[in-house]
């Protein structure tokens, strides 16, 4: 019997330069393609960044705004991510989540998920861990109030963004310090989320230098296991941070930001302690409306420690990226970038598992080039590009893509894309050591060939709809094999192939000036095949436990006298049983928020998960039931 017990650790990640400035196409004709709402988001000074506006991107993009998050009553980042209809989000226990796009929410390891096919960035700082290629969501504490927007791209985005963007990218973008001037204090109390508080102050030195600082505290209760026992998974975290934005001139913008955090997460067997620090600097130099340089460096340290299991991991990451955009003739816009990432970790082996070697330096070299071609006199836009990476485990990887957009009218767009995405091997695949299984130094990168087709239409200014269909051919997917050389000890190999397909629908509708609706439906299906007779037949059970479909609907209402009534409802299909996990029942639930603003005060009451106790994800031994909960919060802003 293979037993992959592994109490995992830390954050760190992968590369790429941030594209944080609101895209401001410089030509009036390009601006015409924006909706009035989008126009209102453009900074008149950011004449640079002739980026394609999100609504015109030839990819399945969803954007969650700060207002969407605030009005949802979400209290953690993964709860906010539920608002993207193209993400599959399951709460594993009080502090762990499984998050993916287009499937592959991998098995619960210890308690989190092995999901490893998303690239997640906070202001351009990658947060996935090279330990297993996923994200420790319980160490990611961006204050939700400081998030400007979250861009979620489903489908491969490796050409620009790099490895692990196999099934999608989550790009979390915080507000400029210039946009968060003044102070605010929030306190809250609740039944599951028991106590939280946040204080923030933003100010200015001179007329070009803006800063803000914040601190927040969060304390959540434990869940109950399906067996009726206590989950022992309560948790709390404290995080503080700052951001400064300096507009040295109209063409130079410097951002420096950083965070420190500390927390503890209960586990049924052993409490984990995490802490970390990060700091990032980004310099944007705009030399003409169509060309700019972006240079970004960051350092991130994160530690996760399980005293009773002895295991500890400390990961440090240093990253530098440079990106250049410039026009070439009338029809071409070239974007290229280079990056280097230096990661080094140190592991204290656990009682029953380890990663060998205990210390490792991981270097990642990357470069990409992309040409956006807009043939004059046509409504077409062709984007071709590729990324080259050299990683410590599998060497060179190439991730090309071709995207074509056709905009026959201002209100609609048809797009198609073909791309290759790669998931680099992680230490889990190559260097894991347990009594029953071994990582494989020859483990190759997993890859996907993805074909996508999409259509976006805005029949009226009040209504926008989008549909995206995908067909993915994955090869070299991880398998767990019998190793004839070492009977009784399995080995990790690349012996699965997967075909996946699905469709994503989403829409937004301004039903009245006071009532806005948004939401979507996602359907996905996958078929696993084994390529070797040595692979254990239920290898697929480790890689994916996904619902076939889900529906999400958010309603935001501004009632008279400053009253806000907001609802987020969702229905998630069953997680079918696997050889390792029992079935998880389908569920329908809703979060309701009632808010009231008077002067500088805002008070709100939120009921989360109205349907009550249900499990959203399972693991061989444990499943946790997420309770119905209530919390109230009071904010004073000045």
């Amino acid at each position: 019997m293979l037993l992959f017990v592994c109490a995992l650790a830390s954050a760190g990640g992968h590369s790429v330069s941030a594209q944080t400035a609101e895209p401001a196409p410089s030509s009036p004709v390009a601006l015409k393609k924006l909706s009035l709402r989008e126009l209102m988001d453009i900074e008149v000074t950011s004449v640079s960044r002739n980026l394609t506006p999100l609504s015109q991107t030839a990819a399945a993009v969803q954007v969650i705004t700060r207002e969407d998050i605030r009005r949802s009553g979400a209290t953690t980042l993964p709860e906010a991510l539920r608002l993207a209809p193209n993400l599959l989000v399951a709460q594993v226990n009080s502090h762990d989540w499984a998050v993916t796009a287009r499937g592959f929410n991998g098995i619960s390891v210890s308690t989190g998920s092995l999901a490893d096919k998303l690239l997640v960035m906070i202001d351009g700082r990658s947060i996935y861990t090279p330990l297993f290629g996923g994200v420790f969501w319980d160490a990611q504490f961006v204050p939700l109030d400081e998030i400007e927007r979250i861009e979620v791209v489903s489908g491969p985005g490796g050409t620009l963004w790099g490895a692990n963007a196999v099934n999608g990218i989550i790009n979390i973008i915080t507000r400029s310090a210039e946009d968060s001037q003044g102070g605010s204090v929030t306190v809250g109390l609740g039944s599951f989320l028991q106590k939280f508080g946040e204080a923030r102050y933003g100010g200015t030195l001179g007329k070009d230098f803006f800063y803000r600082a914040y601190a927040q505290y969060f304390d959540a209760d434990q869940t109950t296991r399906v067996t009726g026992l206590n989950g022992n998974d309560g948790w709390s975290t404290t995080q503080a941070g700052f951001r400064t934005d300096y507009r040295r001139s109209e063409s130079d913008h410097l951002t420096v930001q950083g965070d420190v955090y500390e927390g503890n997460q209960g586990e049924p067997a052993a409490t984990a302690f995490v802490n970390g620090q990060n700091v990032l600097a980004r310099w944007t130099h705009t030399d003409s409306p169509d060309s700019d340089w972006v240079t970004q460096v960051y350092y991130d340290r994160t530690r996760r420690r399980f005293p009773t299991a002895r295991f500890q991991e400390v990961l440090q990451t240093f990253d530098i990226d440079v990106q250049r955009r410039f026009p070439a003739g009338e029809q071409h816009s070239i974007l290229w970038g280079v990056g280097y990432r230096h990661m080094w970790d140190s592991i204290t082996p656990g009682n029953s598992f380890s990663f060998v070697p205990h210390q490792k330096v991981m270097r990642l070299f990357s470069g990409f080039v992309q040409d956006e071609i807009t043939p004059t006199g046509t409504e077409l836009r062709l984007t071709i590009g590729t990324k080259f990476e050299h990683n410590e485990f599998s060497g060179f990887e190439i991730q090309p893509s071709v995207r074509l957009a056709w905009t026959p009218t201002q209100q609609q767009m048809v797009w198609a894309a073909a791309s290759r995405g790669v998931r680099s091997p992680a230490r889990f695949d190559t260097e894991l050591k347990t009594p029953t299984s071994l990582g494989n130094p020859d483990f190759a990168a997993e890859d996907v060939l993805a074909y996508e087709l999409g259509y976006r239409v805005s029949p009226t200014e009040a209504l926008s709809l989008s549909v995206a269909a995908f067909h993915n051919q994955y090869s070299n997917i991880r398998s767990f094999n019998i190793n004839p050389a070492t009977p009784g000890i399995g080995i990790i190999e690349n012996d699965q192939e997967v075909t996946g397909f699905g469709i994503e629908l989403s829409g937004a509708y301004q039903a009245a000036t006071w009532w806005r609706l948004r939401g979507g439906y996602t359907y996905q299906e996958k078929e696993f095949r084994l390529r070797s007779t040595l692979a254990i037949p239920f290898s697929d059970a480790f890689e994916a436990q996904d619902p076939q479909d889900q529906i999400i609907l958010q309603s935001v209402m501004d009632l008279p006298r400053g009253v806000q009534l907001d609802v987020v409802g969702r229905r998630v299909a069953e997680l079918p049983p696997t050889a390792l996990n029992p079935r998880i029942d389908p569920y329908t639930t809703a979060d309701v928020r009632l808010g009231y603003t008077f002067g500088r005060w805002e008070v709100s009451a939120v009921a989360q998960n109205l349907a009550g106790n249900h499990a959203e994800f399972s693991s061989p031994i444990l499943a946790f039931e997420i309770p119905r909960s209530y919390h109230g919060r009071l904010t004073f802003a000045w």
């Binding site: 009036p28 009035l36 900074e43 130079d252 700091v279 460096v297 440090q316 200014e461 006071w514």
Partner: protein
């Protein structure tokens, strides 16, 4: 394996060239030009605002034109409610067949005179002069954290026979200028 500490704070800022203030102003008015184009799609004029069925819908710029060519580029070849859009740059005595009248900042000293001239004709007046809506205009641009926003007086549009869509009202800041006020 050692874990070297890397000092990474120092970033040399070498500034090569700056954008002129003019370029930024251009960007601002490119955006405002597209706003004007959007406004006419959300407003319905009464039939008597047009000389005949084929009369175009005229966007007029009064005073020093801050848009350069961008307004012409935005409007070129477009039509709204089956009426061709045209851009005109009339003087104050020639504004009778304007449907949207953008009042340039150069007209600030004689804004009262301009608005008096418009009277209660079915003309959508727009400007970025400070306090434009308070002083009797219908839509006023302002900048909020370097983004273009607009203030709008639904009651004043109503008295001119202009119907505004609720989407437009939802995006603008409502100015309660009339006796009845407006908006939710």
């Amino acid at each position: 394996m050692v874990t070297p500490r890397i000092a990474f704070f120092a970033i040399a800022l070498t500034v090569t060239g700056t954008l002129s203030a003019q370029t930024v102003a251009d960007a601002e008015y490119r955006i405002k030009a597209v706003f004007l184009f959007n406004f006419v799609q959300f407003v319905e004029w009464p039939p008597n605002a047009f000389a005949n069925e084929n009369a175009p819908l005229a966007l007029c710029v009064l005073g020093t034109d801050p848009f350069g060519e961008s307004l012409d580029q935005v409007v070129a070849g477009e039509s709204v409610q089956n009426r061709r859009l045209v851009v005109r740059r009339p003087n104050i005595t020639e504004i009778d067949d304007c449907h949207l009248l953008f009042v340039s900042k150069s007209e600030q000293p004689r804004l009262g005179e301009v608005l008096q001239h418009v009277g209660s004709a079915p003309v959508l007046t727009v400007s970025d002069i400070d306090g434009f809506v308070t002083r009797g205009g219908t839509i006023g641009f302002y900048l909020d954290r370097k983004r273009v926003r607009f203030e709008i007086s639904p009651s004043r549009a109503q008295t001119r026979g202009l119907k505004m869509s609720s989407q437009l009202l939802g995006l603008g800041k409502i100015h309660h200028s009339g006796p009845k006020g407006g908006g939710p």
